[in-house]
Symmetry: C2
Subunit: 387 residues, 2 copies
């Protein structure tokens, strides 16, 4: 490890952090989610703005994956499982419709266009995600978080996260196997469900026991070390069981969210996530070939047509999920709109597909366009629905 | 980047964090500095306790270097430059004697044993360090931080940090050049002094301006991102000027310590440092070949003899530095004892020497033994001197 190598890594990291924060800030000032800015920053870096930036550096790819593990761990910590139990059935109905409909429609569209097997499953899966963060943020800004609609949407988004995580691990398992078969998908689904179910039933005692030990230790940094160690251990356990690392990281977060150290852990995790999560989003953006979107190149038409179709399915499928609510006097359209933004989870699907070689560049570009479009239209539509 | 590769990285990181914290905790319960426990944990890992652990993985080596950059940045933030100005001259005298005497004695011992040139300079440099953290911690535990002796020691330790950083960059520059020449040493020293002087004179306006912008930004994680970006930028600037990355990181910390966000930045940096700094110490330990210390192997006698000589010089040289205080009625022995622990800075020298190929395994083992011994004897001696 030479000094020049370390300097190259720091330079790449500095460039990523600066572009993430500068474009994230611009996005927020335009009333858009910061993640859109981070993606755009990545697209510009990938475009070759800085000749020394190497988006295919394995150390950066590793840091991006480290960022995803932290992101899912943080998502788990902020997932309010007790809230989920309260709004339960209504949210479950919304989540199931909001996952099933986009998946089936997306899968059918892909199959109709001749992209069968694993490609159809992956694109269908990317359509199922809901970014709870973006909806929660917009509703919070409007002061509407106490409305029953908000509770139902956030509950459904948490269930979506869990279903999405299970799907992710399925897709990852099947992508790794190389060939598509329903048997592989079923096996991976069963493993992920088993892992989450066992962890959520046995885990609370374990995580509370862990948290009780923390104040007894004198050495510096016990809380954050214990928390990330717990996340890494569960991630590795999930991996060893044949499921995905992020399934374990999310589950670890969900378990710690039930302990009385939740706020302290979330606070200590934040600076780590602040530094490494943007690496993931910038790297996702950097892998987009901007030329794929050029409407003047006839060769791009199939991809642009596919992207348009995915965007329509993505919005319509989630809007329809609001109709699953049977409670009277509730703003069903508002609930559907709240489920629209795909955000980070959709991007994780796209990135897994690209890394496994299941998605080629045009398909990757179409999925990223779908994620960006849904994340982009959701905040203004939400404001309109709830004002 | 496959899932298995990411899992391997997480497993290594988990193992490092757990052994750092378990052995760190044991050390603290035995009234020893945690860093000794982290080193010991690393020695055991390097001994091959876990067959899947790969101490020569480049990703881990990179994280260890990332940890050193964060450590020096944090050291800079906690270096109280205004305190330094107050106790000024007395501390300066202690620091100069405490750097010069061990360096000259160590260099002479090495030269007398036939290890000339770069090796003698590197071992001499490793002898100059003072770990302010360990002394501050022990004096704090005793409630003696307000004594004039404590102020003089801590002031001298800060000056030592700055002199050590300059020496480090000199040694690094000369090691990279491959051959030893006083010209290279002089050039590297001049560059480091120039960098620190320019940064500390122009920097305060820059860092205060930076800190003033932070509350104006809305995007998440601005404070920690701005702080680490500033550290990386100054590290890269130092590197580009021909000095060392850590010189820039330390300087960035010292500059931010003068702003009114010092406490917030230190708080946000802590979880990052908690996770990555132990990687460095564990990796330093993991590179020690335990068999080098076996007293039953006659081939180890030269190294063990050298280690004993270095330990004597390390303790005697720093004890003598207390005599440089001219103020009356001051516990000169106590001040000398406070300067004895070498801690992290001594280890950074050892690691640079090993990485650059200047130190072979026996010399590395002797330097690490010297650092461990001085760090080990200081806390009980300090308690005896001040009680």
């Amino acid at each position: 490890m030479t000094e020049a190598h370390v300097a190259g890594f720091l330079a790449d990291l500095l460039l990523i952090l600066l572009s993430a924060k500068i474009f994230g800030e611009v996005a927020e000032r335009l009333d858009q989610p910061a993640v859109l800015g981070e993606l755009l920053g990545g697209v510009l870096l990938g475009f070759g703005l800085f000749s020394f930036f190497r988006p295919d550096d394995p150390a950066l790819a590793l840091m991006a994956q480290f960022g995803v593990v932290l992101l899912l761990f943080e998502t788990g910590i902020h997932s309010d499982l007790s809230e989920l139990v309260r709004v339960g059935p209504q949210s479950l109905a919304v989540a199931i419709v909001g996952v099933t409909l986009p998946f089936v429609l997306g899968w059918a569209l892909m199959a109709a266009l001749g992209h069968g097997g694993m490609q159809a499953v992956l694109v269908g899966s990317a359509l199922t995600a809901t970014s709870v963060g973006i909806t929660a943020r917009v509703l919070g800004d409007l002061g509407k978080l106490d409305l029953p609609e908000a509770r139902i949407v956030l509950g459904a988004a948490v269930i979506d996260d869990i279903l999405g995580i299970i799907l992710l691990s399925t897709v990852e398992g099947a992508s790794a196997a190389g060939v598509f078969s329903w048997l592989v998908v079923l096996r991976a689904t069963a493993l992920a469900v088993l892992f989450v179910a066992v962890a959520l039933s046995l885990g609370p005692a374990l995580s509370r026991g862990l948290v009780r030990q923390i104040p007894k230790l004198k050495v510096r940094g016990v809380l954050i070390t214990a928390a990330v160690s717990f996340a890494f251990a569960l991630a590795l356990l999930a991996h060893a069981m044949g499921s995905a690392l992020i399934v374990g990281a999310f589950t670890a977060g969900a378990l710690l969210s039930q302990t009385d150290k939740k706020a302290d852990i979330a606070g200590a995790l934040k600076p780590l996530a602040d530094v490494f999560v943007p690496v993931f989003f910038v790297m996702v953006g950097a892998r987009v070939r901007l030329s794929a979107y050029n409407p003047l190149v006839p060769g791009n038409y199939p991809m642009l047509g596919l992207a348009a179709g995915l965007i329509v399915i993505a919005i319509a499928g989630k809007l329809a999920s609001g109709l699953a609510v049977w409670r009277k006097g509730v703003n069903r359209l508002g609930i559907g709109v709240g489920m629209v933004p795909r955000g980070e989870v959709g991007l994780i699907f796209a990135q897994i597909g690209l890394a496994a070689g299941v998605l080629n560049d045009p398909l990757y570009a179409a999925v990223v366009a779908m994620v960006v479009a849904t994340t982009f239209v959701a905040p203004p539509l939400l404001r309109r629905s709830f004002n």
